[in-house]
Symmetry: C2
Subunit: 188 residues, 2 copies
């Protein structure tokens, strides 16, 4: 049965890419079947709840990844600046230097599915809390830490939109670098 779970988990990343590419409504079962190579029988064997469960599992995996690779380092790094450095590196890597959009951002704008609203909210709220506290530890006053957090999280999401819209991934990496320098150059 460990094998069953492993196999199911193996297709979750593929599902994530499909939802990223087509959105929730656009990711029809025929598209999912085609892209994963699994028939409907197999898909419903792994995900009895259908598409909703697939999306929920993908969102849970994303949350898990960011908790481990971004939020926890932000919270637990002895040097808060090192945690922030790590965040920028991890984010550039995760979004493939601007060639991969943020599924949570996609689900945030396409708010048809209210059932994912809580997962979307938690993703950004957890990130914001962890980053704000790290900035506090860097010496930023609370109000400034919150403002910089909004600038950074919003800047990341917006750069992903721009990079995709203009078909120019480099926009993302450039923006990320400016946001990073802003923190290091202007600690209060």
């Amino acid at each position: 049965m460990a094998r069953v779970r492993a196999e199911r988990d193996d297709i979750v990343p593929a599902l994530g890419e499909i939802f990223r590419k087509h959105g929730f409504e656009g990711a029809s079962l025929s598209v999912i079947t085609e892209q994963t190579g699994l028939g409907k029988g197999s898909l419903y064997h792994f995900f009895p709840g259908g598409k909703d469960e697939m999306a929920a599992v993908v969102l849970a995996e994303i949350d898990d990844w960011f908790q481990t690779n971004v939020y926890r380092p932000l919270r637990e790094a002895e040097d808060p600046k090192a945690g922030i450095d790590h965040m920028f590196t991890a984010v550039d890597d995760y979004f493939h230097a601007g060639r991969r959009v943020c599924l949570v951002g996609v689900f945030a704008l396409d708010n048809t599915r209210d059932r994912f609203a809580q997962a979307v909210k938690s993703y950004f709220a957890d990130w914001a809390t962890a980053l704000t506290k790290a900035l506090n530890r860097c010496g930023y006053k609370p109000a400034e830490a919150r403002a910089r957090t909004e600038d950074i999280l919003g800047g990341i999401q917006g750069a992903l939109v721009l990079a995709r819209a203009l078909n120019d991934p480099a926009i993302f990496t450039r923006t990320l670098k400016r946001l990073h320098l802003l923190i290091h150059q202007a600690p209060p």
Copy 2:
């Protein structure tokens, strides 16, 4: 026939709000029928091309609005700073202080429909060109003007994502104010 065009144009804003709320795939004809009060017969009378034509007309109207109310003032204002001031006011107004998402941004992330890619690209490219030139006229060097343009356009889109995701429209207005001050406080 002027009356026909007028009536058709009257429902375009409603279509825009429907696409904003449900996305392209989520805006089914039954939803459109319900929200506009027009039956399928009327809808296909106005838009023989179906949903695709509806979305194309909405995107064209959005482009027209931004050309008139944002890009042209940026290009033609005698004082480039006044053009930029006007842009920030118009943008806050257009996006209802963070309560309205950007349909072009939604279509950018939900890239199922490649047929809208050109309209999406033009929206941001025209905006970027107009703003960069205005910043140049303000005294910014070319490279800095391009960087500030990316910060502002990306910051706007990202703030809209964050505001929607966290259900906190004030994030948008706060971010807009910071982006605006950045230009006025730090002209090179």
